[in-house]
Symmetry: D2
Amino acid sequence: MRFFSDNAASACPEVMEALHAANHHDTAYDGDALSQALDAAFSDLFETKVKALWVSTGTAANSLALAALCPPYGGILCHRDAHIQNDECGAPEFYTNGAKLILGEGAGAKLSPETVESMLERMPDGVHWVQPHALSITNATEYGLAYTPDEVAALGAIAKAKKLGFHMDGARFANAVATLDCTPAAVTWKAGVDVLSFGFVKNGGMSAEALIFFGHEAEARATLYRRKRAGHLLSKGRYMAAQILAMLKDDVWLRNARASNSGAQRVAGAAGKRLVHPVEANELFLKVSQEEAAGLRAKGFDFYNWAPGEIRLVVSWDQREEDIDALAAAIEAL
Amino acid sequence: MRFFSDNAASACPEVMEALHAANHHDTAYDGDALSQALDAAFSDLFETKVKALWVSTGTAANSLALAALCPPYGGILCHRDAHIQNDECGAPEFYTNGAKLILGEGAGAKLSPETVESMLERMPDGVHWVQPHALSITNATEYGLAYTPDEVAALGAIAKAKKLGFHMDGARFANAVATLDCTPAAVTWKAGVDVLSFGFVKNGGMSAEALIFFGHEAEARATLYRRKRAGHLLSKGRYMAAQILAMLKDDVWLRNARASNSGAQRVAGAAGKRLVHPVEANELFLKVSQEEAAGLRAKGFDFYNWAPGEIRLVVSWDQREEDIDALAAAIEAL
Amino acid sequence: MRFFSDNAASACPEVMEALHAANHHDTAYDGDALSQALDAAFSDLFETKVKALWVSTGTAANSLALAALCPPYGGILCHRDAHIQNDECGAPEFYTNGAKLILGEGAGAKLSPETVESMLERMPDGVHWVQPHALSITNATEYGLAYTPDEVAALGAIAKAKKLGFHMDGARFANAVATLDCTPAAVTWKAGVDVLSFGFVKNGGMSAEALIFFGHEAEARATLYRRKRAGHLLSKGRYMAAQILAMLKDDVWLRNARASNSGAQRVAGAAGKRLVHPVEANELFLKVSQEEAAGLRAKGFDFYNWAPGEIRLVVSWDQREEDIDALAAAIEAL
Amino acid sequence: MRFFSDNAASACPEVMEALHAANHHDTAYDGDALSQALDAAFSDLFETKVKALWVSTGTAANSLALAALCPPYGGILCHRDAHIQNDECGAPEFYTNGAKLILGEGAGAKLSPETVESMLERMPDGVHWVQPHALSITNATEYGLAYTPDEVAALGAIAKAKKLGFHMDGARFANAVATLDCTPAAVTWKAGVDVLSFGFVKNGGMSAEALIFFGHEAEARATLYRRKRAGHLLSKGRYMAAQILAMLKDDVWLRNARASNSGAQRVAGAAGKRLVHPVEANELFLKVSQEEAAGLRAKGFDFYNWAPGEIRLVVSWDQREEDIDALAAAIEAL
């Protein structure tokens, strides 16, 4: 009963079927019909013309996005708990050729407009300090909170005013959209987002994420070179596109996200005051003593020790109903 | 009837089955049992203790290898027609943080010991010129020739004497071993190779290549960080390892390579004097007039216009017998 | 009456004389006798065999040092107020090819052993987070405090235990040694420092700083290439070496530092409770209202508005006695 | 009697005087009046509005220029014998974050329009190969030839048509202008040059070169950050600007270049058929046997062994008349 990470989840049936359907002799790289269909598919989804690229990981998606938005001598504003700061082994620095992440605070890994304004004020003008070129937020955040369209738009307005590229790390974008019950457009480009890392792997994909450019055609074109140069232009790209298209079709991405969100809500109901953050996506952070944690493990539950006295539980799209019920019961019984 | 590229081939049945077998809730990144089994599997194959990492592309494998062997201020000797020079959009420069490729000549994209010695002599000592730190060859070469164990060993001896790291781009390593009828060990570490990019994708894989370190444990460990930092540590790595293990089992990798090599021989027999290079792997380069090329295309054959008056044909592992026969017949009929 | 920065100071007479003495047709780059004399001169000063390189700026010295100690995928621990973090426009990131600065807190820009231990504890093991490879401190600090030999040694012990390279930014190393009244050796290699940026420009030089390697011969050799590659191997290096040797001779570097330190003490005596930090080198940070600051400026004093209600005054080696007296009097009169 | 390199020459009297005149307490970095005067001084010289930055070396100037004109994933066309390829230890790769130099042939290190066209034709379109973004030539070339304004303009026309940034390495720009007897404008921006590395050090400066942007204001602004980030923003920049302004005043730069060119002509007259290249600037390449070379050395002449049977002689601005005469006589006597 693994509640360790949605990275541990299986690939969903639609994805596996799509891989089979794509398994024939076809054109290499991204010249195949499936890869070529991505722009249109995402343009439909986002109700505007976008440019979409597949990549193998969220780290690659994020880093390519940041490299597109920030020069080597620039700074990227993000939360202190952002994945790009803490979980990518310096990939943003690698891809941007040395840009600097400027870290802000905020509960639940969320940046407020006030925080961003204040960060910008503390960055002196002139050549001695990297100048701000980009703002990056994660939605849903690393603590499972969702930025609403209004919250994103407030940040987007600052980004626009200060000429910052605005990136959204959407490793759990599906979970955010599912919980917000908004359109994908509302929480992205309509709110000022320039580039989105749209995650599929945590949500039932196997190995394909999408990088979406809203406008910024020159940057999107440059990213084709950066992707190749990073070794992320797979020679059999059709298997990548196939996964994504299969999850866009019939809103499988939303179905899967709703499943994991709903499982998380089920557990959240049982966790009560133990919750460290509100549960808005598929992650739960619980105050649990060392003994209690050991008890849960003894019952067969696997999870991450987040901090002293705190554990993280992640509900995946493929989590079995009975396992979720068992987990909820076990937590209630603590 | 695509003879365009082995990158266009399908994934072989063993790979597809392995993906299914791996499709369950499991540990993330490379913590799963399959990923952890790679070192042992390749150590068996190479008859020595190796460290093996999966990556998504040959470009990533090559670039990680070169970054492990050459500092940013160093030089990498390779052939003017090497894939790392011509087909990776500067990936080696990106991953090494700016090392310089030093280009040599040689028929069929092969470097001879004399050429390498002469390249080294022309590189003056001192800080004004990048100093040589690595040597990279491709086996089978970009023109479908195979370096024999002796030929590799002659280069390996130079590398050792000059303290150069020795990398082999084995995008078509299977084709080379199949044609050489030698052990994988004989043509790699026994001949002085330090790091091997072992290709699976062109040979029936879907999206997984292997990067093999012979010795060089510190560099292998550092490469774990570089891989993550490059966005190449897939969160569901088990699907990567599964592909590779499936192809190692029962020598599927050799079976597939023998199939494509043998198809290429069948066509080579028909091509006769049109051959620009000897055919030792699965690639053929043919002198063909523009009209003749058009005639072949009219008959339904797809291939690459390599140079004026020259075409490239690649036979893949999954090429149908009847298509190969038809191609041979069509070439004979020119 | 400029108390803006010691970067504004003139070059001292010994330096100007040395430039003249070096002004003849001689060998290029660092092949001249003066450049070749640096190792011996600094080995004498530090009472151990060192390797010394001239560079044009402290930023270059710091960044070359960090590149020598930290791989691209590593982390460098430093204070939040460190020059390398705030005043070099990302030079460490550029030279290291993207290493990450990990920021710690501490009064007066000083890192305590407890802080460093705690920073290290918060850095999880594994490939997802950059691993610590180096520790960098500034002596005297950006707020004019000096680390004592014991304080440095306590940090050095941690660095050694954790296998971190230990760098000291000594832009005002002379001021630190002068105030500590210790040997240069005591506060550097004897306390575990691996590489020192030894500043001369703020202290009466024109354009030459020294980069000192204690041991670490391989890194020192690699740095010769990195220096060239960074465009910092001046073709007429003798003018660089001449400046440094002139300031080492007869302890001009100490004489100048004592002059600026003593001037700062004179002003500190007048500043009393306005001092934000103890004055141990040549910098003063004073609590001063906007009106008071305006008053000082009206009297002809130039200085830096450091923060709301706080100004920075720097006394240079060439500051005139009467200007210092006038400043002290003006502050007392506030 | 050193004819080894103009890098070995002394600084001219005007430069030394200017350093003294600038030797007072003044503003730091490039905020001083001298640094601020550079734009106007060079705008006068070039008869158009330019942006001018000082840097310490030609390598830094060239690399900053190339970084301004070429993205990391781009290619820079240059001659196989270009200084940026052979004598900068990979600095262009470092500053551009990994762009690739594409090498062309041509007598005397000159690129012809035909060669450049042919190089461009051989660079396939698409993401697999770095795309051309810049063209760099050296004037005077590494073999002492000068591109005429017409020759530059022919290359400039290609650069414009192909949207390549056009850089001129003018380490010996003064020698080129002196021999061409043209305006600085004629051989630069009027001929399509975008950025010029204007050398002063080889021509009587001590440590200051100028980087000139014709138009390209955004790139010039970005270069201010890149310069700082590279550790090339000296804290006492007034000494840099002073050198340059002193050499611009009363055309000292032309006077010095004429002196060295004229000395080279004097020697060339004596060398006759031994000359490997026409002598148009201050460098001479002579066919000389090993014994003859030894004979010259025995007479006290110092020079560089360029290739088997070939030596390089460089006449500097400060070369004594009698030494030049002696050299000419010694060569005639061979």
